[in-house]
C-alpha cells in the first residue's frame, strides 16, 4: 500500500476502495438485520457508520471482520473476497475483550503471539504501541488495575500492533467520559494521518462522527441499508481546535440530526 498525499487523496480514493461491501444481507432467525447493503470504504480514510441502536452496525462490522457470515452478498478487502478473519483487518471491541489474566503488554502483543512472532520482537512492537496510545509505564499492570478508558486504549494498541491495513472500531469511545472522549477523537485524527490505514468506525454520536470522519454512512433502521453518505469537505484539513466551530461542521451535524430524528420519535 503506497502512502497517499493528502491533496490528491480525495481524487484517488474515488476509485480506490480498501473494503467493498456488496449487496450484503444478514438474517438472524426471523430478524433481518441487514438488507442488501452496499458501501465502499476508501483507502486511507476514516468512515463512520452512524445509525439508530439495533440497526446492525456491529453486525456489519463483524461481517467485514469475517467473524460472521453474511446471509447473502459479499465483502471484498483489497479486491479479495472475505471468507474469514485475515491479517489485513483488526478489530477493536466495544467491550474491550482483554484477557484478564494477562498483563497489558501481553494483551497488546496477543495478536502477534497468535501469529507466532518471537517474544522479544513482539514485546518491542507492543511497547511502541503502548507508548503511542499513552499507556507507557503500565506495561506490567493487569486489566483490572486500569480504568475503562485505559482498557479501551489497550484494545486499540492491540489492534494497531498487528499492523493490519483496515481497522474496525466498534464504539471504541463508549466507555470514557466526555473530556477523555475528545482527547481520543483528536488522537484518532492523528492516527488516521500517521498510520495511513483505513478506519471503519461505529459510533452513536453524531458530533463524533462528523468530527472524525472523512465519510459518514447513515444507516436506516432494520432491515438496514445505507440511506445517505456524507463527505465533509472543507474542515478536515483545519486544525483540530477549529473544527467544532466550522460552519460546515455545524451544518452537517444539523442535517444528520434532521434525518435521524424521525426514527427516534
Amino acid at each position: 500500500m503506497q502512502p497517499i498525499k493528502s491533496d490528491t487523496r480525495r481524487a484517488v480514493t474515488e476509485t480506490d476502495s480498501a473494503v467493498s461491501v456488496r449487496n450484503v444481507s444478514k438474517v438472524y432467525g426471523d430478524v433481518q438485520a441487514l438488507k442488501d447493503l452496499s458501501l465502499e470504504f476508501p483507502r486511507g480514510e476514516l468512515t463512520s457508520l452512524l445509525g439508530p441502536s439495533g440497526c446492525g452496525k456491529t453486525t456489519l462490522l463483524k461481517i467485514i471482520a469475517g467473524l460472521l457470515e453474511p446471509t447473502s452478498g459479499q465483502i471484498e478487502v483489497n479486491g479479495a473476497k472475505v471468507t474469514g478473519p485475515g491479517p489485513d483487518r483488526s478489530f477493536v471491541f466495544q467491550d474491550f475483550a482483554l484477557l484478564p489474566w494477562a498483563s497489558v503488554i501481553r494483551n497488546v502483543a496477543f495478536g502477534l503471539e497468535l501469529r507466532g512472532v518471537a517474544k522479544s520482537e513482539r514485546e518491542a512492537i507492543a511497547e511502541k504501541y503502548i507508548r503511542e496510545v499513552g499507556l507507557a509505564g503500565f506495561e506490567k499492570k493487569f486489566p483490572h488495575q486500569l480504568s475503562g478508558g485505559m482498557r479501551q486504549r489497550v484494545g486499540l494498541a492491540r489492534a494497531l500492533s498487528v499492523n493490519a491495513q483496515v481497522l474496525l472500531l466498534d464504539e471504541p469511545f463508549s466507555a470514557v467520559d466526555e473530556q477523555t472522549r475528545r482527547k481520543f477523537q483528536e488522537d484518532l485524527l492523528e492516527l488516521v494521518k500517521t498510520e495511513k490505514k483505513t478506519f471503519i468506525f461505529v459510533t452513536h454520536s453524531i458530533e463524533e462522527a462528523v468530527y472524525v470522519s472523512d465519510q459518514i454512512a447513515i444507516l436506516l433502521p432494520r432491515p438496514s441499508r445505507v440511506s445517505e453518505i456524507i463527505r465533509p469537505s472543507s474542515f478536515r484539513d483545519k486544525s483540530v481546535d477549529n473544527i467544532r466551530r466550522d460552519p460546515e461542521y455545524l451544518d452537517i451535524v444539523d442535517r444528520i440530526w434532521a434525518s435521524l430524528r424521525s426514527y427516534v420519535e
Partner: protein
C-alpha cells in the same frame, strides 16, 4: 495468621469438649495427639497410609485426568451435554453406600473396587465443573482470538483453559476432598485396611484417642494436599490470583 487462630479455636474447643466430656467416646485433643505421636513413632501410621494412599492417589489421578478430559470434551462439544451431564449428576447424587456391594460383587474386595469408590466420589464434580467452566468461557474473548487469527488449538490453550482454570481447580479441590472421603469410606465398607483399619480396630477396642488421631491425620493430610493444589494453580495460571476486571 487467621488460619492459625481458627485452628487454635477449634483445637481449644475440642480439648474442652473432651474434658467435660461430651461423651465417654470423645477423647481430649491432647490425648488424641499423644496417640498420633505414638503411632508416628512406632511407624504404624505410615504402614497404614502406605495402604490407604494407593487407592486414593490412583483414584484421584484417574479422576483428575479423565475428569478434566471428559469435562473439556463435554464442554466443547455442542450436542453431547444432554447425554453425559445427567450421568454425572446422578453419579454425584447417588448414595455411594448402596453402590459398594455391587462394586464388590463385580470387582472383588481388592484395590480395584476401592479405586472405583474414590473415582465415583471424585470424578463427577471435576467433570461437571470443567464442562460448565468451558461452556461459560466469555464468547467475546473467543471472538477476539478468532479475529486475531487464532487456530482452534490456540483458542483452547490460550483462551478457554486459562479462563476456565479457576473453576476447574475449584472442581479439583472439591473432587480431591471427596476422594479422601471415598478412600476412607471404601476402607470402612469394603475391607478394613490402612487408616480405615485403625479407625475400625481402635473403635472396637474402645481406644478412642487412636481413632480420633487417625481421623485427624487424614483431615490434616487432605488440608495439606489442597494447599499444594492451590500452589500448583498459582504456578500454572499466574494471572488468576490477580483478580478479574469487572467489565
Amino acid at each position: 495468621m487467621l488460619k492459625l487462630l481458627s485452628a487454635l479455636i477449634v483445637f481449644g474447643a475440642w480439648e474442652i469438649g473432651g474434658r467435660i466430656p461430651v461423651s465417654y467416646a470423645f477423647p481430649t485433643f491432647i490425648d488424641s495427639m499423644a496417640a498420633l505421636a505414638r503411632m508416628t513413632f512406632d511407624g504404624s501410621i505410615f504402614v497404614a497410609y502406605a495402604e490407604t494412599l494407593q487407592p486414593l492417589v490412583v483414584g484421584v489421578l484417574i479422576s483428575a485426568v479423565v475428569g478434566i478430559g471428559l469435562g473439556l470434551w463435554i464442554g466443547l462439544s455442542k450436542g453431547f451435554e444432554w447425554l453425559f451431564s445427567p450421568i454425572f449428576v446422578v453419579m454425584q447424587a447417588a448414595p455411594l453406600a448402596a453402590l459398594i456391594p455391587i462394586l464388590v460383587m463385580v470387582y472383588g474386595i481388592g484395590l480395584t473396587s476401592k479405586v472405583f469408590v474414590v473415582c465415583i466420589m471424585a470424578m463427577p464434580v471435576i467433570v461437571l465443573n470443567t464442562a460448565s467452566a468451558v461452556r461459560n468461557t466469555p464468547a467475546s474473548l473467543k471472538e477476539m482470538a478468532t479475529s486475531f487469527l487464532a487456530r482452534d488449538r490456540d483458542v483452547l490453550l490460550k483462551i478457554i483453559l486459562p479462563a476456565a482454570s479457576p473453576v476447574i481447580f475449584s472442581g479439583l479441590r472439591l473432587g480431591v476432598s471427596a476422594g479422601f472421603i471415598g478412600a476412607i469410606l471404601s476402607e470402612l465398607k469394603i475391607t478394613p485396611t490402612g487408616v480405615g483399619d485403625i479407625i475400625t480396630y481402635s473403635r472396637s477396642i474402645a481406644d478412642y484417642p487412636s481413632m480420633y488421631a487417625a481421623i485427624f491425620s487424614i483431615i490434616l493430610l487432605a488440608v495439606i494436599f489442597l494447599n499444594l493444589l492451590e500452589k500448583l494453580e498459582n504456578v500454572l495460571f499466574e494471572g488468576n490470583n490477580r483478580g478479574y476486571a469487572a467489565d
